[in-house]
């Protein structure tokens, strides 16, 4: 999956939980303040990502994700980890 496709896929998931539309989401947006996700829905987002991309994301790591960019970095890291032999 190319970085652009991955980013669009994540934006689309974020838009399902936020009132902000996918085309309006920016990397620097904060999950709470800018996308309007509360503590439950921001965790729900990370859970959706883990489910749909089949990633094993530890809770401790998820707790440090606060922005859209953090989210993408976290997903990329786990995808790369999974791809390693």
């Amino acid at each position: 999956m190319t970085p652009d496709v991955l980013q669009q896929q994540i934006f689309s998931m974020m838009a399902q939980l936020s009132v902000v539309r996918a085309p309006d989401i920016k990397l620097e947006h904060r999950l709470r303040e800018d996308l309007g996700l509360d503590s439950v829905s921001s965790m729900e987002l990370l859970s959706m990502l883990a489910e749909q991309m089949n990633l094993d994301v530890p809770m401790e790591e998820a707790a440090h994700v606060t922005t859209v960019a953090d989210t993408i970095t976290m997903v990329q890291r786990h995808l790369e980890k999974r791809a390693m032999p």
Binding site: S18, V19, V20, H29, R30, R32, E33, D34, L35, G36, L37, D38, S39, V40, S41, M43, E44, L46, S47, M48, A50, E51, D56, V57, P58, M59, E61, A62, A63
Partner: protein, 476 residues
């Protein structure tokens, strides 16, 4: 105020209530008589938590909870009117208001000349605060234009000051922030709708409010910086839930007292109901829950007094859920043990049950709060000692290792854990407060309930199965 002074205040409230407050009349009239409201003002109850320099009493949260509980023991509509004013109604202003906002509002609020309301629920947003559709847009002259609708506004019928939540997308640094705003009751465009017809709390005012392009001055209206609404709301809601929980103590205590009096004199099968073991067991269970309610509210109020925001957020969630459910259980038991008379309004316990019912719904529906308690425990585990705490911790670790972050996609698992967390907090508070062997034993009993819940294997339901079951039942 000292503890002795605190007791004097509680006694004054009890005397006033006995002399002046008639719950059944308030329920029938759907309003609190003006003479009762004047009496509450005379006692200084609307200023209990407000700063002394503005005419308030600056009581601690612990002291205020005792007074709110005493008031609720007499009538829940009256306690809700006062408790809402002291908690949700004024807490945002006290904690986050500017000196100018304090000067303008607090003296009148402390005297009860201005009653406060809080408006956040909307047609499309209840517990989900991210769905708030009310907006405050900046105008050129430093004013804000506020537009939206708010539902179920307690004290709304006669409040002169509303604290509202509004989306403020063009203010501050946040792209989509929520802010707390003060709106004067006489603001042009603020429309009050007729009183709602309710199951209980009929003396308490509950209305819908429309905000039709209400114009307010930004600096007068915004509480603290724009976009900080979510953060501030958490604090305000914690205080609101604390006083709601204190009110539940009063309702439960009144129901238990009425029930004890009834079963002491009512004889069946040649002896008083109180002498029957089945009745005794149920009363002991109710007493255990009431004792835990008091202990948990005290612990929560102490966290508020110590400005321990993290503990206040967690404990007020547990207190709200535990106290509202326990009050409901105790009121239901009161009706049951009163027999046929419990179902008759004149006895009074039916009113208590009706009044208590909404406490499981408002200020955060219990299922949402319970799920949130589970989520908080997973992300910020609480370090406590004891069997209940050990069981919750074991459940938490099992979920961590089994599901990782995917657990957040299963709210019913979080809800299950949250129920154990609530019981753990209640049991721990009761244990800490226990001074006798009997009290320790009853705290331990509650702890065993928490252990049982936390240790139980949770099996998620397949949604398609539920649909089949419901369709089958409804067609049968």
């Amino acid at each position: 105020m000292t503890e002795a002074g605190d007791d004097v205040m509680v006694q004054m409230v009890r005397r006033f209530a006995a002399d002046e407050i008639r719950p059944l009349e308030i329920d029938a009239a759907h309003q609190i008589p003006p003479r009762v409201l004047e009496g509450l003002k005379g006692l200084g109850l609307f200023g209990l938590t407000l700063p002394e320099r503005f005419g308030g009493s600056a009581l601690s949260a612990v002291q205020t909870c005792r007074i709110v509980a005493a008031l609720a023991e007499s009538d829940r509509s009256v306690a809700t009117t006062v408790g809402l004013h002291l908690g949700l109604g004024t807490r945002g202003l006290v904690a986050f208001g500017s000196p100018a906002q304090h000067e303008r509002w607090l003296p009148q609020l402390a005297q009860g000349d201005v009653i406060a309301a809080f408006a956040t629920t909307e047609p499309g947003a209840g517990s989900d605060l991210s769905a708030i559709a009310t907006t405050a847009h900046p105008l050129a002259d430093g004013k804000l234009k506020v537009s939206g609708s708010k539902l179920y506004v307690t004290n709304g019928g006669f409040a002169s000051l509303f604290t509202i939540t509004a989306s403020t997308p063009l203010l501050g640094s946040a792209n989509r922030g929520t802010s707390l705003l003060l709106i004067p009751g006489e603001a042009r465009g603020l429309v009050r709708h007729p009183e709602e017809r309710k199951l209980g709390l009929r003396g308490s005012s509950t209305i819908a409010v429309s905000l039709d392009d209400v114009e307010v001055t930004g600096v007068d209206s915004l509480l603290s910086e724009p976009g900080a609404g979510h953060k501030h709301l958490s604090h305000v809601l914690s205080w609101g839930r604390l006083f709601l929980s204190a009110g539940c103590i009063g309702t439960a205590r009144a129901a238990l007292k009425a029930t004890h009096a009834h079963v002491s004199q009512r004889r069946q099968f040649r002896k008083a109901l109180l002498q029957q073991e089945v009745v005794q067991r149920q009363l002991a269970d109710a007493a255990m829950r009431l004792r835990a309610m008091v202990a948990l509210v005290n612990e929560t109020a102490s966290a508020a007094d110590a400005n321990d925001e993290a503990a206040l957020a967690r404990l007020s969630t547990s207190a709200k859920v535990f106290c509202s459910e326990a009050a409901g259980t105790i009121c239901d038991l009161a009706i049951q043990l009163h027999g046929g008379s419990g179902y008759i309004e004149d006895t009074g316990v039916a009113l208590m049950a009706r009044d208590a019912r909404v406490t499981r719904i408002f200020e955060g529906a219990n299922d949402v709060l319970t799920t949130h308690a589970g989520l908080m425990e997973l992300t910020s585990p609480t370090k406590r000692a004891g069997a209940a705490a050990d069981a919750v911790e074991a459940a938490r670790q099992a979920l961590h290792s089994k599901l990782g972050v995917k657990v957040f996609g299963r709210p019913s698992v979080l809800h299950h854990l949250g129920r154990a967390v609530v019981l753990r907090d209640a049991a721990q508070a009761a244990q800490t407060a226990a001074t006798t062997a009997g009290e320790l034993a009853s705290a331990a009993q509650l702890g065993r309930e928490a252990v049982e819940l936390a240790s139980r294997q949770f099996v998620a339901l397949d949604p398609s199965q539920l649909t089949d079951v419901l369709e089958g039942v409804m067609e049968s």
